[in-house]
């Protein structure tokens, strides 16, 4: 395991880990605010945004696509708020309505536009293309210190790493107000906190993570990582800082185990082809959640310490 690992597996593995952790971090707070579905919503509405960006620019290039996805996310957030207030329905239902509608609109738009010349389709949007993010110039561990080889790293890797730094930095900097405002918004406001801005910033961070990850690994991982690692981590502890730590561990574990199993498990089972890494990573995160729900030490809510 050396040069081949560096060329074929190192970058997809790192991108998968960065994407998983970048989504899991804000997911902790979204889950506690009962807004976990927002990651789901954002990753779905990214599709019409990207299609519109493609139709406008006529090419698949990174920044227009990211801007299109971000713009669609903003439209979705406004629509969700509008429907919630005008229709006076709960946020979960408003999100469900908005993201399915926009995603469906994106599919129609995609069908009607001529995207045959480029790599843009619904499968790509769902599963991403983690396995293809290989590093051809990475011919061995030595390439990690070779500037020429590093220049040809898949662009998704530095982008996902930067996203992770931004998201983690935001949560570290605003840890205290985020915690207080998530637990008790009214009290936070009496302290003079602008809780609505803070909530918006959190959703914005989630949107940045979702759009960046969507581009690299597809929406399935995004949706799974916003919910599964934080939810599993909640079963492991009754302290928020420890919970966030566990969520990072679980997200990383899901990315690594999922990637490896996607490549090798079908071979062990005698099947010829590998399966989708994105699908396997998301599945593993679900399995981790299931295990934590059965064996986690803090899974009983509202009350009795374990064993009572």
């Amino acid at each position: 395991m050396g040069s081949e690992f560096v060329t074929l597996s190192l970058t997809p593995l790192l991108i998968g880990i960065f994407a998983a952790v970048a989504c899991a971090l804000p997911g902790n707070f979204l889950l506690l605010r009962k807004q976990a579905l927002i990651g789901d919503a954002i990753s779905h509405v990214a599709l019409p945004g990207i299609v519109v960006a493609f139709l406008v620019t006529g090419a698949i290039s990174t920044w227009p696509m990211m801007l299109g996805a971000a713009g669609a996310a903003c439209v979705a957030v406004v629509m969700i708020e509008g429907i919630r207030r005008l229709g006076r329905i709960e946020p979960g239902a408003a999100m469900g309505v908005v993201f399915t509608t926009l995603f469906a609109a994106g599919v129609l738009l995609l069908e009607q536009s001529d995207t045959s010349s480029v790599h843009l389709d619904v499968e790509h949007a769902l599963y991403g293309n983690l396995e293809s993010l290989i590093w051809l110039d990475g011919t061995g561990w030595g390439s990690l210190v070779d500037p020429q080889a590093l220049a040809y790293l898949p662009v998704e890797l530095p982008r996902m790493a930067a996203t992770l730094v931004v998201v983690a930095g935001f949560i570290a900097l605003f840890w205290r107000p985020l915690t207080i405002a998530t637990f008790d918004e009214g009290f936070a406001r009496t302290l003079g906190m602008r809780t609505e801005l803070l909530g918006l910033a959190l959703v914005l961070m989630a949107a940045i993570a979702a759009v960046a990850a969507f581009d690299a690994v597809g929406s399935i991982i995004v949706i799974a990582m916003f919910i599964c690692p934080p939810a599993a981590a909640r079963m492991m502890t009754n302290r928020l800082d420890v919970q966030v730590g566990w969520s990072v561990v679980f997200a990383t574990l899901a990315a690594v185990v999922g990637y490896v199993l996607a490549g090798y498990a079908p071979l062990w089972l005698g099947m010829a082809d590998a399966v989708s890494a994105a699908g396997m990573i998301a599945t593993i995160s679900g399995v981790i959640l299931a295990i934590a729900s059965v064996f986690g030490p803090c899974r009983s809510r509202a009350g009795a310490p374990s064993g009572v």
């Binding site: 008790d184 003079g192 502890t237």
Partner: protein, 267 residues
Amino acid sequence: MQLSLAQQSKQTAEEAAQETSPLAIRGLTVSYGEKPAVFSVDMTVVPGQMTAIIGPNGAGKSTMLKAALGIVTPVSGRVQVFGRPLDHQRGRVAYVPQRASVDWDFPTRVIDVVLMGLYRDLGLLGRIRASHRRIAHDCLDRVGMGEFAGRQIGQLSGGQQQRVFLARALAQGADLYLLDEPFAGVDAATEKAIIGVLKTLRAEGKTVVVVHHDLATVRDYFDNVFLINTRKVAEGPVATAFTAETLQAAYGGRLATAQIDQIASSA
């Protein structure tokens, strides 16, 4: 049009009271939909005393408190805290929300909740020092919860949770304490502990305002009452403002006349 001398002096006395009042509210109107929840309410809280805000369910008691604190945005009205706008006086105000307003499954311990009361000292990134922990532990001791510091908050009884909220407010070290239904659904021991703490605060010269629902304890606990039913009904010392007439006006048909007479005459 000329004001008489008597009117003028009355007006200046009122202005002076507003200047020094821990909480002076003028023309406060709050609306959640088309119907106002609180309409054109004035309130001048007396310093160093305990005041109960009383009224039937849905009368706007909590809403008025939340609007005064900037938690909900009023349609109109002016709020002054110790003679200045609230934003300049946040450090002098402590707030205890209704216990049911938060999710007690939140992954945090009792001591962490109390430390939230020190946020204004700690700021974004300030380190929690031994001195901060000592303050938090002292506040827990004052409400009789010292031994529960390491517990997860979901493992506490309702009354214990209420006392943790009070401890957090104590940690804020404020001059004005606003409490929303602190006695709702708590056990007798908790009620006794809370009222003991509030009376101690009053003895220290602090001002306490409580949204209160139990008419039977008003006389025992409070110096002043503020009766509200969307509009202000009465305001003043218990002896003069908490009467059969004012209760009748605030509660209308919701309390039997016999009940009102009993409460009003139990002085």
